[in-house]
């Protein structure tokens, strides 16, 4: 590509690209994000290429590997443009039929279309699928319109127009002012006003400043930043350059976790493309502004998502947080003013500059503007990435977009904000989701992870799970975090294995107060959240575990027993044959019995027993204890 050295050459290049690509030309867009690749998207793309080649259609029909559109549950996703026909869960074996039926004969392959579970009708266009229809895809929308590896594609959708506007028509102060007017708040978790961080760095005395992308997304179940940086890396770069210009930085870093190899690959490629075409380097677009970017691969520590730990790691030292009594915006990497923003925050910047702060601020609530991407996972029908305006209710996200809870189960809670977030119960489903409301409810936005839980989830066990994660991921530097988590986890392990005592809840609260009050960084200060929020809304579950050794969700195996009701058992043998521990005895016309000594409490017998019989009982608490005790004392004769 020719060197883009001015606003004119940028626009000229853009026009040339658009002229080259006729929008009416059929294009097969296959999601090439990490999720779809894992379910075989690369093979699907290859199959399309082979099929088109063999039919001599390569010139007439293009194939494109796009970024992640978000509907990961149904990947690999194929969208045929310009009609936007959306086929889900496409396998290489479906490819020949798609080409023959849809691209040649202009007919639909009905069996690959989305079926609306509410009406049973088939939906052809991607945008009409309820999962997408109820979203506001300001940022994610571009992912499916471009090939993640193509600068041309990004330019075709107005890429780098915001950069040209910022560098050539606006002063750094005007850029800052526009960001301030937009009221953009950091998407990484804290929700700190972006302009304030930028202004603090800009006003710092030291002329050497840095801008950094935090792509160290480490929350279990969160993958929105991965989708953005994999799917549309140039948008992150563009935001970063604009931020650097506003702040007065000439060096940027992208701190991306190495567990995201495709993100690392795509962002490195984007940097090389931008450098080669003059969008990075000296005198960008003839503005006189110089800026360079380096990628730093994170070595796999969750705590490095914390700003000061990330900066310490960037300096080449062990990623441990340091006190931030002086903000990193003033004293960050190598003690220089450093603006660190999350991937999604940077992705918003070009949109605000290109389309104006007013456009951005039309979405969202009074205090929280714009959209937010959530990764919706867990016990939910439509797993994937959803982008909604701030202030949308949890119910809308879970029911309308997420399609509710599968298998007819009841919604119990949604965990937001990653491991240091909290659980929100069904009674709060109408909560308007934004930074402030989630915090008020005892959870937090975090980077946007949303784990949906159904009635089979034990809330004490969930708290235990997250504390176990945090015990490993704490850096271990300060006592209240390292020791507080260790002791809280011990209590939770005891409670979930039937060894809880009276006073455990108070002990948890005491430990939590010290961990919150005295920890050095945000990881420690928020680590007790999973415990405190579950105690707030599900205290009775803790009490049941402690007092009655009862797990109301039947999830804590140590508190369970499975028993076969002799009156209901039809001796069909299904449970006996399915038991992986060979713990069930019985024969034809002989009532079956579970050997409690051998039983591993996996629950297979309970789920396979035909519902017409319902002979297997799932017990917890006193009932479970009595079954186990009886069996231990006097194993029943079955012969």
């Amino acid at each position: 590509m020719c060197r883009i050295c001015s606003a004119e050459t940028l626009e000229k290049t853009r026009q040339e690209i658009r002229l080259r690509s006729d929008p009416s030309t059929p294009c097969i867009a296959v999601c090439a994000g990490a999720g779809c690749l894992a379910s075989g998207a690369a093979e699907v793309i290859a199959a399309f290429e082979v099929e088109l080649e063999s039919r001599g259609l390569t010139a007439a029909i293009t194939t494109r590997g796009t970024g992640c559109p978000g509907f990961c549950e149904r990947g690999p996703i194929v969208v045929i443009h310009p009609q936007e026909i959306c086929y889900l869960q496409v396998k290489p074996a479906d490819v020949a039929e798609i080409v023959a039926t849809t691209l040649v004969d202009k007919q639909l392959v009905e069996r690959l279309l989305y079926v609306d579970p509410a009406t049973g009708s088939k939906i052809t266009r991607e945008a009409d699928i309820p999962f997408y229809k109820n979203q506001q895809r300001n940022i994610l929308g571009a992912n499916s319109r471009i090939d993640s590896k193509s600068l041309d594609d990004y330019l075709a959708i107005d890429g780098y127009a915001a950069l040209a506007k910022a560098l050539l028509q606006m002063s750094p102060d005007q850029v800052l002012e526009e960001i301030k007017r937009s009221n953009l708040r950091g998407r990484g978790g804290g929700g700190f006003p972006v302009w304030r961080k930028w202004a603090e760095s800009r006003n710092a005395a030291d002329p050497t400043r840095y801008v950094i992308v935090n792509a160290d997304e480490g929350d279990p179940g969160a993958f929105m930043d991965r989708a953005l940086i994999e799917g549309n890396p140039h948008s992150i770069l563009e935001g970063l350059i604009i931020g650097a210009y506003a702040v007065g930085a000439h060096q940027g870093f992208i701190y991306v976790r190495q567990e995201y190899p495709l993100a690392v690959e795509n962002v490195n490629l984007a940097i090389r493309q931008a450098e080669k075409s003059g969008l990075l380097g000296n005198d960008i677009l003839g503005s006189g502004f110089d800026f360079r970017v380096q990628v730093h691969k994170g070595a796999g520590a969750f705590v490095c998502g914390e700003s000061s730990a990330l900066m310490t790691a960037l300096e080449g030292r062990a990623g441990e947080p340091r006190p931030k009594y002086i903000h990193t915006a003033v004293k960050g990497v190598w003690d220089k003013p450093s603006v660190l923003n999350n991937v999604e925050t940077w992705a918003n910047v070009p949109l605000i500059i290109h389309q104006s702060a007013d456009w951005f601020a039309q979405f969202g609530t009074a205090g929280c503007k714009g959209t937010k991407i959530f990764s919706l996972v867990g016990k939910i029908t439509n797993t994937g990435l959803v982008e909604v305006p701030m202030g949308v209710s949890l119910r809308q996200i879970v029911e309308q977009i997420g399609g509710g809870i599968p298998a007819g189960k009841r919604f119990k809670a949604v965990q937001t904000g990653g491991p240091s977030g909290g659980c929100i119960p069904a009674s709060q489903l109408d909560l308007k989701v934004d930074f402030d409301e989630l915090t008020k409810a005892g959870s937090m936005m975090g980077s946007g992870g949303m784990i949906v839980m159904d009635e089979d989830t034990c809330m004490v066990d969930i708290a235990r799970y997250f504390l176990n994660f945090l015990q490993d991921e704490s850096c271990g530097k300060c006592t209240p975090c390292r020791e507080g988590i260790r002791q809280m986890l011990k209590v939770l392990n005891d409670i979930t294995t039937g060894k809880g005592h009276e006073g455990d809840i108070e002990l948890l609260e005491d430990l939590a107060a010290t961990t919150i009050g005295a920890s050095l960084c945000a990881l420690g200060k928020s680590a007790p959240n999973p415990v405190l929020s579950t105690l707030k809304y599900f205290r009775h579950e803790y009490e049941e575990h402690i007092k009655n050794k009862n797990c109301p969700a039947y999830a804590c195996k140590s508190l369970l027993a499975f028993n076969i009701d002799a009156d209901k058992c039809k001796a069909c043998g299904t449970c006996r044959r399915s038991c992986p521990a060979a713990a069930i005895s019985g024969a034809k016309q002989q009532v079956h019995v579970v050997d409690q000594q051998k039983c591993t409490r996996c629950g297979t017998c309970f789920s396979v027993c035909p519902s017409a019989f319902g002979a297997v009982q799932r017990l917890s608490g006193a009932a479970a204890a009595s079954v186990s005790a009886t069996m231990t004392l006097a194993p029943e004769e079955t012969g």
């Binding site: 062990a318 015990q471 490993d472 271990g476 005491d510 005295a518």
Partner: protein, 202 residues
Amino acid sequence: MSDVRLTIDGKEVTASRGMTLLDAAQSVGIAIPTLCHHPQLEPYGGCRICTVEAEQGGVTRLVASCIYQVAPGLVVRTRTEKVNRIRKVLLEEMLAHAPESEILLNLAQDYAADKDRFEKEPSFCIHCGLCVRYCAELKQKHAVGFIDRGAQREIHFIPEIAGQECWDCKECFPLCPTSALQAAYVLTEALLTPAKKPSCCS
């Protein structure tokens, strides 16, 4: 250096800019307990036993006084109920690892900490990092460091360096508030040079 006026436990204090709350308090005879602090080393803020309440503009925060710097008009309280409670729990957590540490036991008396509140896991080390930082910052040898993270974090001598540097130094030993350090070194020594006997014993 310009002076900063603040209040610590009701006392008017004049401190120089850049001074920590800990130093400012000590300058007027107010004692704040410390474990990971060493006047010759960079402030670390790891043990958090020096946590105090600092109020400014109506907002009260819990801060580590060994790091937090004085600011004009700051109101510092070093022995509130909240601070005492935090120190008590921190001591109880550390005593699970180093139940015999005299420093910890003495502090436990001051804060009514129950040394047996938590199950004992005598690793002895309370992760104050004095040895690691002393060796890195003052001796510049890096013969002892931290390995792993979270609850698994431990101090370890680096055999290649320790074998050459430590025998004639051992300046970190008296810094250790528990007996962990010496034990770790003896272990390294034994593993590294099983045949070599210390000259004093020959």
